[in-house]
């Protein structure tokens, strides 16, 4: 990152003082590595297809791609139990896929069809799935962070040992809801992982232009009992190692953690803005592209001899077929019927 021209508020390139961005490791376990690679590649190719579908008008509204951040979702969610909970933001396609919502159900939701995971009522920003305890993509920045604390509260109330993982972007750290939730989670010792996916920009505003303390994990210092952890989000194994400790802490000691996973978004904030040129330079984008979490794991595996070029090609082919199948399924799924308009406003039950 030596050629990086942009400097942060402390006058040095951000990457230089972040966690060492060493060459991405392999796990030494080829099966695990292949699973992680598969998980990240599926998100990548699915999202690229999503971009195409958006350009063709198959997907409407706001659509926020996750490309570049796949190690965060894969690294953390791959370690959860089925009865744990995941909640996130409007940039939610990647986490939904890793959590186990089928590519078909996600793509159908993006297409606004009845077979979508939210029956076509939520769209890109509001993926939900009761079967996988996926508690939604939420569209108001910061608003879902107290909800995650509430899920943690419920787990503790029942004496359970599940954990709740709450994904959020870096812009959330400056909003009141974030601090109110962190305070209560620390005060009441709630089993929640607050995961900041620091992709450097809240829409087009760089972290250091928005946050007085831009070492975001240090925001945890304000709350006794809350661990703040800095993680290299381009290395899926680094994400796994650090988050494993936080998951254990939550599960066994019912304690919250604040994880800052440093990552980068390779695409624009949503579909309507340029990838670079205004708030960030092409050079910066290129530098981070070299740290691509998917391809660096692949390269490490190829170098270690735990993946052959043929196996990689086969994985690409298999995933391309899955993604195409999700498109075909979504395209063939019916629009919600007019009667659905008035459904799901209220339930007509009492308990």
């Amino acid at each position: 990152m030596a050629s990086k021209k942009k400097t942060d508020a402390k006058g040095e390139p951000r990457a230089a003082r972040s966690t060492a961005r060493s060459t991405v490791r392999t796990a030494g376990d080829p099966t695990l590595d292949r699973e992680l690679l598969h998980s990240m590649l599926l998100q990548r190719r699915f999202e690229e297809k999503t971009g195409e579908a958006y350009a063709l008008g198959k997907i409407g509204g706001f659509c926020h791609l996750y490309i570049g951040q796949e190690a965060c979702s894969t690294g953390i969610i791959s370690q959860l139990r089925p009865d744990d909970y995941v909640i996130g933001t409007y940039r939610d396609h990647g986490q939904a896929l890793v959590r186990g919502i089928t590519p078909r159900a996600v793509m159908a939701e993006l297409f606004g069809r009845i077979d979508g995971c939210s029956r076509g009522k939520g769209g890109s920003m509001h993926l939900f799935d009761r079967h996988t305890n996926f508690l939604g993509g939420h569209g108001i920045v910061g608003s879902h962070v107290p909800l995650a604390a509430g899920v943690g509260f419920a787990i503790k109330y029942r004496g359970g040992d599940q954990v709740c993982v709450c994904f959020m972007g870096d812009s959330v750290v400056n909003i009141g809801a974030f601090h109110e939730a962190l305070n209560m989670a620390a005060l009441w010792k709630l089993p929640v992982l607050f995961v900041i996916e620091n992709n450097r920009y809240g829409m087009g505003t760089a972290v250091e232009r928005a946050a007085a303390v831009d070492d975001l994990h240090r925001r945890a210092d304000a709350y006794r009992g809350l661990d703040g952890i800095l993680i290299d989000g381009m290395d899926v194994h680094a994400v796994r190692e650090e988050s494993a400790k936080a998951i254990k802490r939550a599960r066994e000691e019912s304690l919250p953690s604040l994880l800052e996973v440093q990552t980068y978004r390779f695409r624009g904030h949503s579909m309507s803005d340029a990838v670079s040129g205004t708030y960030r330079s092409k050079d910066e984008l290129d530098e981070y592209t070299r740290l691509d979490p998917v391809f660096s794991l692949r390269d490490a595996m190829l170098a270690a001899g735990t993946l052959t070029q043929t196996e990689w090609d086969e994985m690409e082919k298999e995933i391309a077929a899955i993604v195409q199948d999700s498109w075909d399924f979504a395209d063939a799924s019916p629009e919600p019927p007019a009667g659905a308009l008035f459904e799901d406003v209220l339930v007509d039950t009492t308990s």
């Binding site: 909970y85 909640i87 979508g116 995971c117 939210s118 029956r119 076509g120 009522k121 939520g122 509001h126 939900f128 799935d129 009761r130 508690l135 939604g136 939420h138 569209g139 108001i140 608003s143 879902h144 962070v145 107290p146 909800l147 995650a148 604390a149 509430g150 899920v151 943690g152 509260f153 419920a154 787990i155 109330y157 009141g176 809801a177 109110e180 939730a181 305070n183 209560m184 005060l187 459904e343 799901d344 406003v345 209220l346 339930v347 039950t349 009492t350 308990s351």
Partner: protein
């Protein structure tokens, strides 16, 4: 039948529902050790313990969100706001989270939560502590809004609200907590969405709710001395609104006054008048009038506050006007 205060009625409802269902918990500022800012939760901490009667930090946005999250995964929170004025800090969780969750999840996540606390003006609390938010909240699909005006309705509606599988907003009143009325011990359930004819007359309908029910009853008493007999329709629930109860009364009396605590523009009364003109146009013998708070922030000075509030005299004047009496 025992006569108890509105405050005690709410306390009974909470106690009974918490005993009935261990998923129900109470959270809010000062609800535990302090026994509630208005003593609604008196004795509950002692009875149910700190896991179920939870003193929160002063963080309305945060703890109301905690409630929504807990409700999404199966608990049944009762979130107490010290007043609805403070709940504006939490309105995002009421409107964007609780009210939308079922719909945007395609029917997967309902939010069985109650948001409750005092609403509207008390005495000389000035502009920031004297606001009635019925119309703000009733505007939103995905929640129910209940406004009990009597101890009986307070108990019955709170119990129904806690059992409802949807988000329910309950607007109480500081000036109501000490009012007394007959309330049976044990099970009292007032159905949500059902109005009640609190007084039967035949000359004019007063359609009202919440704290203004007391005003309307005084109006009815005073007018009776002048041989004017009014229906008092207590909506009890603002959303969903019991329009049939309104129509039945207005078709009979052919005259109506809508009395509300909030401001005029886009108020509850505006909606009620719209329902009436659509359904009862041919029955009306006079334009429907509205009584409401004057269109200013609430002043502190006693004299000015009185001028700003809807009251008995203003309502009597309105009834006489629609009856063409002076």
């Amino acid at each position: 039948m025992p006569i108890i205060t509105y405050r005690e009625a709410l306390n009974q409802a909470l106690r009974e529902e918490m005993a009935r269902d261990d998923r129900v918990f109470l959270m809010g500022e000062e609800v535990g050790q302090y026994n509630g800012a208005y003593k609604v939760s008196k004795g509950l901490l002692e009875e149910f313990g700190e896991n179920r009667v939870v003193d929160s930090p002063i963080a309305e946005l945060g703890f109301s969100g905690v409630g929504v999250g807990a409700a999404m995964v199966g608990l049944r929170p009762v979130i107490e706001f010290m007043t609805w004025n403070f709940a504006l800090l939490a309105i995002d969780q009421v409107v964007n989270s609780a009210a939308k969750m079922l719909y945007m999840s395609g029917g997967q996540y309902n939010v069985p939560i109650v948001f409750r606390g005092p609403n509207g003006a008390a005495l000389q609390l000035a502009a920031q502590h004297s606001q009635a938010f019925e119309s703000w909240l009733a505007h939103i699909p995905g929640i129910k809004v209940v406004v009990p005006g009597t101890p009986y309705d307070a108990k019955g509606l709170l119990k129904s609200a806690i059992r409802d599988d949807n988000p329910v907003v309950m607007l109480e009143g500081e000036m109501l907590y000490n009012t007394k009325g007959e309330v049976p011990d044990g099970e009292v359930l007032v159905p949500i969405g059902v109005a009640e004819l609190k007084r039967e007359g035949g000359d004019c309908s007063i359609i009202t709710s919440g704290k203004m029910v007391l005003v309307a009853m005084q109006v009815a008493d005073q007018l009776a001395k002048e041989d004017i007999h009014v229906d008092v329709v207590d909506l009890r629930t603002i959303r969903p609104m019991d329009t049939e109860a309104i129509y039945t009364s207005v078709r009979k009396t052919q005259r109506a006054v809508v009395l509300e605590e909030g401001w005029e523009l886009c108020g509850i009364g505006a909606q009620v008048v719209d329902f009436i003109q659509r359904d009862c146009f041919d029955h009306l013998d006079a334009p429907v009038l509205r009584v409401h708070q004057t269109d200013v922030p609430m002043p502190y000075a006693k004299t000015l506050e009185k001028l700003a509030k809807p009251d008995v005299a203003k309502t009597i004047a309105a009834v006489k006007q629609v009856m063409y009496r002076s």
